[in-house]
Symmetry: C2
Subunit: 329 residues, 2 copies
């Protein structure tokens, strides 16, 4: 049987990544443009151009799936998107559908990335899985019984935003001590900067040119790989913060697997090892039941386009024309 | 059409409550016996007797649903049940099914209570809902897309067990600062005892006969209803603890409604009012999207038997004989 083809778009603050993906999860064409900032009209034009470019290479695409960095409701309208100013109560699904004449599905970027990992990546074969991206913030997608957790309005899986320490640092959302503020990739850099200002982390500080404000996560990773004891202690502390949030989510969701995405995946066991150790030390009832493995995500930066396209294909009946899929995935 | 009938059993540490429930959620017969402690053989005999007593009143029951205080896997085996010593890697579903010859379904007691509230109670009509019981501990049931959240192994929705304060009190599970340790009904009493020992809460202490150790939640509630300022301040502090956990769960699940069960529901707005205020002050993106209402559960102590029976009826095909429903609800 000929594979069905869908277009997947991943729309973030800096770029629009588009791809044609077949129903086995393979990327067969790809196109990337910078995100025009400012207005929805400008961003919509870039989206339409990207779709047009991709369709000029393969005419037989069935649908469009969009993963967008923002809070997306069940009809594909974006309600809040702090990192993409062009999104502002924007009816993305309806507008793209009308502009290109293809059935269109829109979901949050972390949700579609999780769906891709659950269908073809690190969580393949699992009906219940967590995919957690430790990046600028913490993005999360939750697969429950094979489907993306959307909630009553589409805004579920804001998994970075639960308090783990009332005295912790302020989160970008304005609340104190959220997991995101203590366990994102950004938080690792902030922890290292603070330690350097206290006179610690000499090797890391030197690698950053002697300026504490210039320290970023990769400086810590590099020192950790080199065996620097202070860097390894900081990594252990950071891994504990990551693990405590994963413990709560595992107790709540009982996932079959937890896949971790984000830059630190490239550091292999340097982070994942201590994260696993702290996780197993604190997860509920670990002696009474199976506990989920913590594994690196495998699809990398293409997870978003693959998941968006596959979600659209899964929700679009064979032979459907525009505007068919609506409501919850 | 004649309503279908199912037997629901709610098995806790002190009692076995049994009922015949029709498919509109109405309890048509009820029978209660103390939980024999110690052995599964003794508890199984009590379960079989209860089912026999109920069937002697109405012969036309189709199935048995059991809500049990413990970690129940997807085949109805209990893996861990600290409050019911008779459960110890017990194959509850298989044993009851074999003993009574009716299709049997087993789930956690908080899960089936949540299912009842979602079908016929405070969360009726909601496909996504949280039901949180603030009692000795914190019991939780989560409804996702109309179904009970079970997770990969059946152990999901341990919602009391995520850390909200690394310096908080020790939880019964052995972890520090879990939500359950800071926001259960028990925690309210513990907070009041500590305050009385510090020389505060004079009115509450007097009501408890002058012994700080004798203070329980109802003493605090009574003083709060009487307008005692210290009691009201403590209730506000407790309500904040409850709200911070609800905020995290709401950010994660985006429920259509949050139903609160447990003794404090009888105190009406005394607790629910400040819980709502703190919740709305901290939930993610409340200006950008609908936020869930926080309402009292309505089915009271019968929620468990109703939910267990309805879950069994929903999973048992019309005309089925024993041992049909298996796997995940």
């Amino acid at each position: 049987m000929t594979p069905r083809l869908g277009i997947g778009l991943d729309i973030g603050g800096t770029k629009v990544l588009g791809a044609i993906v077949d129903d086995t999860g393979a990327v067969v064409e790809e196109h990337r443009v910078p995100s025009p900032t400012g207005t929805w009209a400008g961003l919509l034009a870039a989206i339409v151009d990207t779709i047009g470019e991709l369709r000029s290479r393969r005419a037989d695409v069935a649908c469009v799936g969009i993963g967008a960095a923002g809070m997306v409701d069940l009809d594909g309208t974006i309600h809040y998107a702090p990192n993409v100013p062009a999104f502002r109560s924007t009816t993305v699904r309806a507008d793209v559908d009308a502009a290109v004449g293809l059935p269109t599905v829109v979901d949050n970027d972390a949700n579609v990335a999780a769906y891709a990992e659950a269908r073809f990546g690190a969580a393949r074969g699992m009906k219940d899985a967590l995919v957690i991206t430790l990046g600028t913030g913490i993005g999360g997608g939750v697969i429950v019984n094979g489907r993306v957790l959307r909630g009553a309005h589409g805004f579920a899986a804001e998994v970075g935003h639960f308090q783990i320490d009332p005295n912790g640092p302020m989160c970008a959302c304005g609340e104190r001590g959220h997991w995101e503020a203590m366990a994102s990739g950004t938080a690792l850099g902030v922890m290292a900067q603070a330690a350097a200002r206290r006179g610690q982390l000499a090797a890391v500080l030197a690698a950053a040119g002697g300026d504490p404000d210039a320290i970023r996560g990769p400086h810590v990773s590099a020192a950790g790989h080199a065996g620097d004891a202070e860097a390894l202690a900081l990594i252990d502390q950071y891994a504990f913060n990551v693990a405590i949030g994963l413990v709560g989510l595992a107790n709540i969701f009982d996932p079959g697997v937890i896949a971790i995405a984000g830059g630190l995946v490239n550091d292999g066991e340097l982070f994942l090892g201590p994260i696993r150790t702290h996780f197993l030390g604190h997860v509920e009832g670990s002696v009474h039941r199976p506990t989920p493995e913590i594994v690196p995500a495998t699809l990398g930066e293409r997870a978003g386009v693959i998941g968006a396209a596959i979600l659209a294909l899964d929700l679009t009946p064979v032979g459907a024309s525009a505007a068919v899929p609506r409501g919850r995935p």
